[in-house]
Symmetry: C3
């Protein structure tokens, strides 16, 4: 019944149960007190943290290194780790972490490819913390957001949090929305209709928590704030630093994988897309922020109730005049990165233990293990930035998927959670040794309802199916 987080990885916020997150916050409180008292801890004396950053970072790397120092440990810093897509010029993620596990007791990785942290965790024998893998996950950011809310408001449960800005692109915002519901808060999505969270997230909240995600019109925000109904206003960057490229329908050259240059590139293209295709719902990209004009900020200040939150770095969506408002807590969010990361590091390294229930069933959101398909041939993740689609990593990574939806058949990549659409499927146990019974079916066939995930074999094409010795079922012939 009693276990800790020792030896575990943190790739997604959903890797931890609510109870584990609460324990982590409890320890973070303790760390925060130690920081205030100027105490130097010795919990991680003689331990090394490797910070492996393939993208530039001030905030995240800085707070991890500070955290490790305050725990009495050391840091081996790779602030400018480079990544290349070609086999000849670099080393695969798997090889890099299998070397680094001998040089550090814990690895913190930031990488432009979605799913890269999962690959690192699969291959390293030491704990791996995801410090941002493309636009996939950035769980310690979400932990800081939740912890700040809890610290400022005394609780998370029951809070009303308005999320403002681009809620469609960037999965870190999705993680936050999901986590808020998970911890019993009420997120209100306030943005233009074309920037609302994607239907998949809305659907998932309904399924998992019976929660209907509420939306409000930007023009109603002032009155909402005015009524004192809002505990916090979370400003999502309009142009998130880390974009998920496929969401934008962009095709970027594979060689161009460093986050920085990617971000630059995308910025430019993004604006173009807005101008061309979104013209009907707004005049230009800035239009969406018009509701947050000077008058709005003055009203916020007068009410003195609503927290203003932002993940930073900010661009233009958050004016400097609001910095002095006492409930602007975005720098506190950044400050809380240190105690949160101290607590996390101490727990994963086993330097501190905590009692948590062993069972993770029911609390863990994606019960991935139960939905894992047996095998997939020629099925590709739809995310071009996914680690499973990089030439260099394909030398050892095997694509694998969880069932997301059976009708129509949609699966999700185990590395980056993006969708994939198999064209054909089969069961691995129906043929009972008779080769003639090895049949494959088209994706739309109702037969898939009869196959358990653990027996489901997916194919991207008939050729892939036939190469593995499967024969077309009559459904295939009918479909043709």
């Amino acid at each position: 019944m009693v276990t800790g987080l020792v030896g575990r990885d943190l790739i997604s916020i959903n890797d931890f149960t609510n109870e584990e997150v609460e324990c982590l916050f409890h320890l973070a409180d303790e760390m925060r007190l130690a920081l205030r008292q100027g105490k130097q801890l010795e919990l991680c004396r003689g331990r090394d943290m490797a910070t492996l950053f393939y993208e530039p970072s001030t905030r995240t790397r800085g707070s991890f290194e500070r955290a490790m120092h305050k725990l009495g440990g050391n840091v081996v810093s790779f602030a400018e780790a480079k990544t290349t897509s070609s086999a000849a010029k670099g080393e695969t993620i798997a090889d890099t972490v299998r070397v680094l596990e001998h040089y550090a007791d814990i690895i913190v990785i930031r990488h432009p490819w979605a799913g890269a942290a999962q690959v690192a965790a699969d291959y390293a024998r030491v704990p791996v913390i995801n410090a941002g893998d493309g636009s996939h996950e950035h769980p310690t950011q979400t932990l800081c957001d939740l912890y700040t809310l809890r610290k400022e408001k005394g609780r998370i449960k029951g809070l009303t949090v308005v999320l403002w800005g681009d809620l469609k692109h960037g999965r870190t915002v999705h993680s936050l929305v999901y986590a808020l519901v998970r911890f019993g808060a009420q997120p209100l999505c306030c943005t233009e209709p074309d920037l609302y969270p994607p239907e998949a997230l809305v659907e998932r909240l309904r399924t998992d928590y019976d929660h209907v995600l509420k939306k409000i019109e930007p023009r109603d925000l002032s009155s909402l704030i005015g009524r004192g109904d809002t505990d916090a206003l979370y400003i999502a960057p309009f142009r998130p630093f880390q974009l998920r490229l496929p969401d934008l329908g962009l095709s970027v050259p594979i060689g161009d994988t460093t986050g920085w240059s990617k971000a630059k590139k995308v910025d430019a293209v993004y604006v173009t897309r807005l101008q061309r295709e979104r013209m009907r719902t707004m005049d230009n990209g800035q239009a969406k922020y018009l509701a947050l004009n000077d008058g709005f900020w003055e009203e916020i200040k007068r009410k003195k109730r609503t927290l203003i939150m932002h993940p930073l770095p900010r661009v233009d969506e958050l004016p400097y005049q609001i910095d002095t408002y006492p409930r602007s807590v975005y720098f506190e969010q950044a400050a809380n990165g240190v105690p949160i990361r101290m607590a996390l590091t101490a727990l994963l390294l086993g330097a501190r233990e905590m009692e948590v229930s062993k069972t993770r069933k029911g609390t863990l959101l994606y019960e991935k293990a139960e939905n894992r398909c047996k095998a997939a041939f020629g099925v590709e993740c739809s995310n071009q930035s996914c680690v499973s689609r990089q030439e260099s990593e394909r030398r050892y990574i095997v694509s694998a998927f969880n069932i997301l939806k059976r009708e129509p058949l949609v699966v999700s990549c185990i590395y980056c959670d993006s969708e994939a659409y198999p064209q054909y499927f089969a069961s691995s146990e129906w043929h009972q040794g008779t080769l003639e019974n090895k049949r494959y079916y088209p994706a739309h066939s109702f037969m898939k309802a009869r196959i358990r995930a653990e027996n489901l074999v997916l194919f991207g094409s008939e050729e892939e199916a036939q190469r593995r010795g499967f024969h077309p079922s009559k459904h295939v012939a009918q479909g043709a």
Copy 2:
């Protein structure tokens, strides 16, 4: 009466009084002894130093990190911090340091923009040390220079120091000249007429210390050395690594702000300027160093009295054959960086206290607070590399100026000390509530003599004045 340096910033060498510098040197002696004895101190145990370097550095960053380690503290190193001029791609200096103040107990910053360290100090709640802000100031270099002189010669007062090379461009040389006079040494400027220190510095030395800056001809240097009248020869780099662009009359693209590429660029242009406009005084850039030929160095060696100093890195102005001369102390200057920076860090962090007079009046060189103008509208610092002129920083930085001279009206930027030339002015207190009495005057008007700095409002144009509700005085009409 008793206070320390705890919590203070070091942006300019002039931020410290002579007494404070002396105390610092005293503590540096102690640190030097500890280093020699191989002692590991624990004064800064549990403290972190952030080294935030937007430009490459071996010497300065290396000695700060070594210093912090020997004090028992840790370093969070941002060796390759990048800066961008566009809002979309980066974070402002103010935001960066307001985050970093939670990740470190002291911030050391190097930045290509003049005034950037002042902005950092304005926004960070922890001490900030300027490790070079463009070509503005590099105070710890000046401290090393003075400390080396004092250590090698037993004192600074009364020493005769010849400064050789380009004394016109590069404010670090100006800081040194000023500091030498301040500490009672006699600087002798030895260079071509067009590379003498600027008139403003000469004027300031006369005003502040009644000191007439002496110049000597390069051809007289040998005989001066020969007579044994020289305590030290300070070689200023001919092509300083960090150039102040406006001095060269260059217009660089705003996007090109990294020091490294800037330096490269400027090198090329600089040579061009020399060839075109300085042709009359010398054949080419190298000509100025002809006086320091092999014969000269032989004579120096024979005399065994004159220290040879250089801030490093050297280029061609300092031949390798002089390295073995026992009074070549440029590597000692670099070595002294460690005890100086240990002492400085310990004092600013309050890890060591010292008794210094509270009063800073009269000793501090620029009594800026007394000369600060009330407000300025549309007045721009003349230095294109000034932090106040960068698009990204203008979102929060308000230009502000001190009066430098009243006739003609010249003000200096509070960030980078460069000149600015307001076109119009007004008093903030003359109108006594009557809008009709809010009058503005042209810069040449004698009326400015009647306004105290703290009431002086400056305008860059009539439009700016009128937008703030001021009306033209008759002087304006007369001037028109």
Copy 3:
């Protein structure tokens, strides 16, 4: 009779005697145990290591920094030190290390120029460790290779080690071959005829150890493995990360000196060369690895005897399916980097002492001191990447050579060991004060046999000889 390694440098594996290497391994065993037990040592408390990396590195820098941390010391890290070839933009190696010796107690340097580590050692007063100087030497890699062999097999003496891949280019492989013979192992070279080790290495092994280097045909490898005659198979990268440019007959622009871009460049050209000139011996670059097909790996696995070694990073020559084979020890090689570098650092810093014989004669391989020529004028090292040929370093570096062979006259560069071919020579002692007797001789003259190395003066041309006051001997006239 008793001394340690304190204060020594490690530039080449041949700087240490066999006895010293054995002592180092002994201490590494101790360090390895401490690592396993999670012990934090305090041997280097208060000491700083500077890691000065002019080329990117994960493995080498990471393991050095981990090693220093586990010894209780600190690191000042220059992970992205840049190098430039022009005097105006950089600092020479000599100047850099003479500054850094004040900021660190030991310097670890990686540099793209062959011989750069030797220059650093010549100028720094603290120990210097070569972490790779171009394609010249990488001695700590060789130490890890030997240590892994010894640990896995219990000894080095008498082992049979097959070296597979490109054994011609890349001196690190040459170092390994030489070291294997030195420690009594039997290297077998298994590759295409045009990728065998160079004749100079073969010759040297014969001279120094009376060892005839054996070669085997790739097609015979399977049967050799099958007979159980092989203790280890060492896979040398086909396209080594660090190439020695002159071996490829390439002319790279001098400005392009960073290893990364160089490697990229060379990769491309290399392939071209293969296609054009090596077409007769193989179809393309990959052909050479065909022998190591899936069947081969299956057989290796079945035998369970042969270690599989590789210096990493791998490209395509080592398939991922062999990773799970229990005798694949390439990640162990990387892991052993930590105890080896801990032992090395502790010994060079004098934090641990060991008793070794004082005499180095006979054990040290290149008795360079005995073969050092008195002087050389206008003689240039043949290696374009040699530190002695870089414009910036020529301001202080004096080319110098050891005699490699007298007939024909070939000398080797003291920095990078590459060949040079003087055109003329003279003796510094024959003229006995009479200017007329100062004669120079053509390189082919038998007279050189009569001159001891320490008196031998070399010239690149007649002009150089005459400028130094030498007159043509009659041999010169005859030769003309």
